[in-house]
């Protein structure tokens, strides 16, 4: 793993292993995530890439049998230490899921949910501002500005996913984790999301899990290839796709298995 950036990494994982009960899902993964970058995790399904993603904002805590060892830091702070507050952590490290999961509330309330619970808006006007800004950044504003009170579940699949991105942005995170955000969408909606990821990367560190190698190649600057719970190779996306150093990576990229 080369370290091209002189600045400290936004997030770093060192020797991370995850197990569910006696089943080990992730073995000894070390990786760095930087600002202004999109990092893609690729690999065949069941390789542990989603599991690893969930350790980055401690969503694995919701599974009682999950156990995480190793060290993950955000701006140098250990996120699994007892000082780290999981509520703040998740506000700083947002997440977008595989299937769009807007709350059964209005579009406005979906976006306002995070600022409300975290107390980020001092007034109604400030909240309106956050909602508008988030929806704009998610590229959804023009489509929904006249029907902010409609239910979020009434939107199309692609719009729902952008709403979920807006919802994540509204909390003003530093890192956004995306777990196969386009796997439930049609190609046109997928293209829109990819475009959006491209625009967002200037503001946030983005980590995206995908099983679609073309997508990884299109949107990311760094790529990590996972296989059987291990990180096989991690590097600049261009290098991974053109000159993989590992035989397994090459086999996967050329479609030998997956």
């Amino acid at each position: 793993m080369t370290d091209a950036h002189p600045a400290p990494h936004k997030m770093s994982a060192r020797g991370v292993s995850v197990s569910y009960g006696d089943k080990q899902a992730i073995r000894d993964v070390s990786i760095d995530v930087d600002m202004d970058h999109v990092t893609a995790f690729i690999g065949p399904s069941g390789c542990g890439k989603s599991t690893f993603l969930r350790t980055l904002n401690r969503m694995n805590d919701t599974i009682p049998s999950a156990r995480v060892t190793g060290e993950i830091t955000l701006d140098g702070e250990d996120i699994y230490s007892s000082d780290m507050d999981v509520v703040q952590l998740r506000a700083r490290v947002g997440m977008v899921f595989q299937k769009p999961n807007p709350f059964p509330k209005s579009i406005y309330e979906n976006v306002a949910y995070g600022p409300r619970i975290h107390g980020l808006a001092a007034s109604k006007g400030a909240l309106d501002g956050i909602v508008e800004q988030s929806l704009r950044r998610a590229g959804l504003w023009d489509e929904v500005k006249d029907r902010l009170n409609d239910s979020g579940t009434a939107l199309s699949g692609g719009q729902q996913q952008r709403l979920c991105i807006a919802r994540a942005i509204a909390v003003d995170p530093e890192v956004i984790l995306m777990d196969e955000p386009c796997s439930a969408l049609d190609p046109i909606a997928t293209a829109k999301i990819e475009e959006l990821i491209h625009e967002l990367k200037g503001r946030y560190a983005i980590v995206i899990v995908t099983h679609n190698m073309q997508q990884a190649a299109r949107v990311s600057q760094k790529t990590a290839f996972f296989h059987l719970g291990q990180l096989v190779e991690y590097g600049d996306t261009d290098n991974i796709f053109t000159a993989p150093r590992q035989e397994r990576t090459k086999d996967y990229i050329t479609g030998r298995y997956g």
């Binding site: 600002m35 509520v87 975290h118 107390g119 501002g129 956050i130 800004q133 003003d172 946030y204």
Partner: protein, 433 residues
């Protein structure tokens, strides 16, 4: 991340999570989280505590209902000069003969002779009955003097237990003199209702419950299972089937007292049909009418449980049987029904437990009579355990409080056993495919 936003909305300053205000806010949120969790825990604990308190109250009130205080009564039978032939005592007419010989008066005279006149009665109403049984068991007693332990009056019993201030000194004196002892009250399980709390028992009501449950089962089980089979396996999709389904679902939610009104109007009422007076169809106050009424009440429970059980049998089993040429009836009765039986039985037991604990509809169809002799058959006037509890609960005397709670404990043990059996069955036979 601090770049100005290019869009129309005003850009916002990045969130600083480390500020004092923010930290305070988060502490407040966590406090709320803990409070919320605590409320949940409290709700569970208080609900369980209520159950525990209820059981505790019943046990502390009721355990003494299983005991009975007896008083030593010296009886000088030869001196009583009863006009009775010892040979008569082993005939069926013994009871009548002993009553004719004024045994009851002689027994109370014996108490008077032994203890003198007291401000409270010493003997239970059932005391002379115990003497009667002793005489019937051993006719030679007629020529002997004998000390018998007979049930003491409820005042003495409660005085001894510290619940009756008026009788307490006397009871204490008798107890210290060794004239009183308290033992297991076998009569509680073999006697029936009485006006004297010392003499009451649950056998009559229990037998009534048994007879009623038998009727309920014999009607509700076959009808429930057969309709479940029809609805699940054969019913065509049409308005009639919908009507049946709607009826069953609604019947399951109809208040039980409405079934009492139904029983009263349909089974016990009479009306004219083509000029002939018809009805009442069933005898009032009997286990038969109670059983039929409860059967209608729990039938929907059995139907719904049976349908779920039948639904749980995989279609592959039906296909396999149909594939080797079985008829649709044979498929159901040879293959589906046996596999669904544990689920059906579980539902039936739960329904029967509900019927066993039910009171309200039975009050309306006359099963609240004062029943001194246990019912001999399905058409005799009868009462059931919950109704007996209800009747006793109206009595204010302390003795009846004990008996009511004791009867409740017996009822709860039965219901617990039935529900436990249902849970056991459900766990044991949980889907094997």
């Amino acid at each position: 991340m601090n770049k100005p936003a290019p869009e129309a909305a005003p850009a916002r300053a990045p969130t600083d999570w480390k500020t004092e205000a923010m930290q305070k806010r988060i502490r407040r949120r966590y406090a709320r989280e803990r409070r919320f969790k605590l409320f949940g825990m409290l709700a569970v604990i208080l609900s369980a505590a209520f159950l525990a308190f209820l059981l505790f109250t019943m046990v502390t009130n009721g355990w003494r209902g299983f005991t009975r205080t007896e008083i030593a009564l010296p009886l000088d039978f030869p001196a009583m000069a009863m006009k009775i032939d010892p040979a008569q005592l082993s005939t069926p007419g013994a009871n009548l003969a002993l009553a004719g010989a004024e045994l009851e008066d002689k027994v109370s005279n014996a108490a008077l002779a032994a203890y003198g006149a007291q401000s409270v009665p010493l003997l239970s109403d059932a005391a002379w009955l115990k003497v009667r049984e002793a005489l019937k068991a051993d006719p030679s007693l007629l020529h002997q003097k004998k000390l018998l332990w007979v049930p003491a009056s409820t005042q003495v019993e409660q005085g001894l237990r510290g619940n009756d201030a008026a009788a307490a000194p006397l009871a204490k004196k008798l107890y210290d003199a060794g004239k009183l002892h308290t033992g297991f009250n076998a009569g509680f399980f073999s006697e029936s209702d009485s006006t004297d709390p010392v003499a009451v028992g649950i056998w009559g009501a229990f037998k009534g419950s048994l007879l009623t449950m038998a009727v309920t089962f014999l009607i509700a089980f076959p009808i429930g299972v057969l309709s479940a089979i029809y609805l699940e396996e054969y019913a065509p999709k049409n308005r009639w089937t919908d009507l049946i389904e709607v009826s069953i679902n609604n019947l399951a939610a109809v208040p039980s007292i409405i079934f009492g009104l139904l029983g009263l109007a349909v089974f016990l009422g009479s009306w004219s049909l083509f000029g002939m007076r018809v009805g009442p169809l069933l005898p009032r106050s009997a286990a038969l009418v109670g059983g039929v009424t409860l059967a209608l009440m729990i039938m929907p429970v059995i139907v719904i449980a049976s349908r779920n059980a039948i639904k749980g049998v995989p279609p592959s089993i039906r296909d396999a049987a149909l594939g080797i040429g079985a008829s649709r009836i044979q498929v159901v009765f040879h293959h589906v029904l046996p596999l669904a039986m544990p689920g059906i039985l579980t539902g039936t037991i739960i329904g029967m437990a509900r019927a066993l604990g039910e009171t309200a509809p039975l009050l309306l169809i006359g099963m609240r009579a004062f029943i001194v002799t246990p019912p001999g058959g399905f058409t005799d006037p009868a009462t059931v355990l919950p109704v007996q509890i209800f009747l006793w609960s109206d009595e204010v005397s302390r003795g009846f409080v004990e008996k009511t709670s004791a009867a409740i404990l017996v009822l709860l043990v039965f219901l617990l056993a039935m529900n436990g059996l249902a849970i056991y069955l459900r766990n044991k036979f949980e889907t094997r495919w």
